[in-house]
Symmetry: C2
Subunit: 504 residues, 2 copies
Amino acid sequence: MSVERILDPRLRDRIVSAEQAAAFIQPGETVAMSGFTGSGYPKAVPLALAQRIEQVHEQGLPFQIKLLTGASTAPELDGALAKADGIAMRMPFQSDPDARKRINEGKLDYIDIHLSHVAQHVWFGFYGDIDTAVIEVSAIREDGALVPSTSVGNNKTWLDLAKKVIIEVNEWQPEGIEGMHDIYYGTALPPHRKPIPLIHANDRIGQTTLNVDPDKIVAVVRTNGPDRNSPFKPIDDESKLIAGHLIEFFKHEIGKGRLPPNLLPLQSGVGNIPNAVLAGLAESGLRGLTSFTEVIQDGMLDLLKSGVLEYASCTGFALSPEANETFKRDIAFYRERIIMRTQEISNHPELVRRLGCIGMNGMLEVDLYGNVNSTHVMGSRIMNGIGGSGDFTRNGFLSTFLSPSTAKNGAISSIVPMVSHVDHTEHDVAIIVTEQGLADLRGLPPRARARVVIDNCAHPDFRDQLNDYFDRACRDSYGKHTPHLLPEALSWHQRYIDTGSMKA
Amino acid sequence: MSVERILDPRLRDRIVSAEQAAAFIQPGETVAMSGFTGSGYPKAVPLALAQRIEQVHEQGLPFQIKLLTGASTAPELDGALAKADGIAMRMPFQSDPDARKRINEGKLDYIDIHLSHVAQHVWFGFYGDIDTAVIEVSAIREDGALVPSTSVGNNKTWLDLAKKVIIEVNEWQPEGIEGMHDIYYGTALPPHRKPIPLIHANDRIGQTTLNVDPDKIVAVVRTNGPDRNSPFKPIDDESKLIAGHLIEFFKHEIGKGRLPPNLLPLQSGVGNIPNAVLAGLAESGLRGLTSFTEVIQDGMLDLLKSGVLEYASCTGFALSPEANETFKRDIAFYRERIIMRTQEISNHPELVRRLGCIGMNGMLEVDLYGNVNSTHVMGSRIMNGIGGSGDFTRNGFLSTFLSPSTAKNGAISSIVPMVSHVDHTEHDVAIIVTEQGLADLRGLPPRARARVVIDNCAHPDFRDQLNDYFDRACRDSYGKHTPHLLPEALSWHQRYIDTGSMKA
């Protein structure tokens, strides 16, 4: 392995092994790492840290850290540290199965906040000091500036605030990624904030590299490993139907003059259904699309390649192994069409509102009145987290939520009388889409929303049950504004817990 | 009554009676009126319209309108039209008891949305055409420009979009109010939006008058009547305790360096508790305070008078009759220290985030995990509405929610296992204050939040019951991230409905 990616001569004598680097991290530290939806996370130091933690635990001694990131990472980071019982607190979004298991057993404290809040809340001092930052980059320039890799996330904040810094230089990341990033250094704490001078999703307002005080760098580790993401599933019929309903709605809104012919900047959550929507857009006949989003996944690369999507702004990637190779091979093409930003900018309320983003996010369940649960299975078990959905839902032009109408082979209805946890309130939800159809909740009072959600989105297996609840609630509810029968409102969830099915 | 407030000669021949003006409004119309928290609403035309509607109803014919405003109004508007069964749909925030009764009987459709969303959602076309605007002003200038009165609300949007316009010129409003307003005409629809050039809460970015196409004005009505608001209650011990806890917390945060010595721009909800907080701030020793809020109420005038508050930005007033007189008498003083804006600016996410506002809002109830219900009594009956609380809660520096720990003489606990409706999610709530104490939820995972909410905020009468629920939930919940016992989660509310008390 060469050191040609480490051009700053001052840092070459700090090159150490991952084990030596991990030794800088002490029990009880708050450690802030890079990584956003499985891209750009450190590949070696977290594994070495997990091993060290296990060794310390074997001696009967405590060793846990508080772990902050951009968003979800990968088995080498969240997985390894969770398995080692090395995480006392985790913030924000994560999706690792081992960490999730511990969170839901009550053994790992998880703080799930809006992604646009993370950097500023740490700057505000709400999470105390950052002891160590562990950041993957693709190269270090001669002047010490860091060339980011496949995610930016909160790296600017972590590098600015951490007392000591460990850098991983990953040679697997394409050299040609340099120039793709736009790091905005104009943020400030109130009362010193200024307008953010971004007017189009592809405006450049910053610099291509990350600054860091070289005196804070205690270790540089060379790595050569891929970002790990699961392949997407082949697009199934259900996802195709959902995508079709949404795209038909977009065309309807264009026809009515409520959306421009090239829509407005798209935000797309990660997963198989959003990927199906992107595939559907490729064949929609729409042109000149743009994206201002958190994450670029396979379907968006295809949209860029076909010219349907003109450009995209993001803070990270979630690519299948195949798409990763395409991305690396055609990096010169993508570098002209993709801008990677810090997540405080990619998700910033000011910019989401100004650009008028169209939010497209998944959900676990929605209730009759349009309240959406994105995070909690049966009200108490976390699935992943809210991520950036709230940033786009509240502040964008239009919020859409996409889900099959049932889960677990039909045992769970995604449309319920009352959601068991609320992440997006009735005040924030405009459009619900299932394979059954689309419910347009804009400008509707609560009872009218219930009618259209049941009729357009619920699975036929649950429609009678929903109508029965709603009819009786309209008759017997304490108030008739948002009719509910409280003893029954959450009974579907309890029935699932008791019997394995929500069916009556 | 003179016509000296109507200087545009073109409009003098359109001066008519309120009855004649109301005759321009047809059944089924969408009518957009001025008015925000009982200030600046039209005083005569809505009453005349209500009479006309009653006459039509007596003939057995239908007559209802869809009614949009800035926020709540007064008995002469919401009350009269609701009593006449003249409102088919009402949007947004309202607080009239007659309207509320009909809403909760299921006879009046109410759409409760964030106040920052109203103007843009109407511009987006989500509410169809605006047929008629009925707007109170304090004067019409020679060039036809309108001098607003004691609220701005959505008046700019209503005047821009309405097909026909009825103006009420209210001579009761002080002439000296001219110059107090700042109407920003730089808004646009996406993708044409630009940064809003406001950096300090007292920046002027617009003009002092409202534009209107004179050809759209079908009627001008002269009025001379006061804004009607209830007097505030004398500050009680409970409110004083709540104010004391919050101000102590502010001082603690200043001491820790997390807040500047003059805090950050304050947003204050309307009511007796916020008024007590303002009174507390007057005696706090803090100086150089600023406010970027929706509504100015009595306490804020006092703070300006004493010099504790340097300036305030708002979109309307909620003053007691006495404070109204003070305001009119000392208008020259207040005009230099108060700026009145459109509500899309007073509540704009971009500005609330940039300025770093401190939100102070009331609530009906909060649950163990920090979810707040601001609107629904026992989950189904609307109280008032969400107003602008969400605009400040989500996007500001800090969100605080204030309430006595019990209601209805102790029968209702404001701290419940699970709220019966969610307006502000766990992701958006930082500080809870009751007369018992303050819970700082920042940086806490769900179970730790429960501990501090129970210990610091719950009334002693309900503490054992809450601990019992929480302990059993931690033991028996399906998931242990956000422990809940679903069959019991809403049982306190049902017990209140059944027995008149939440006590077990």
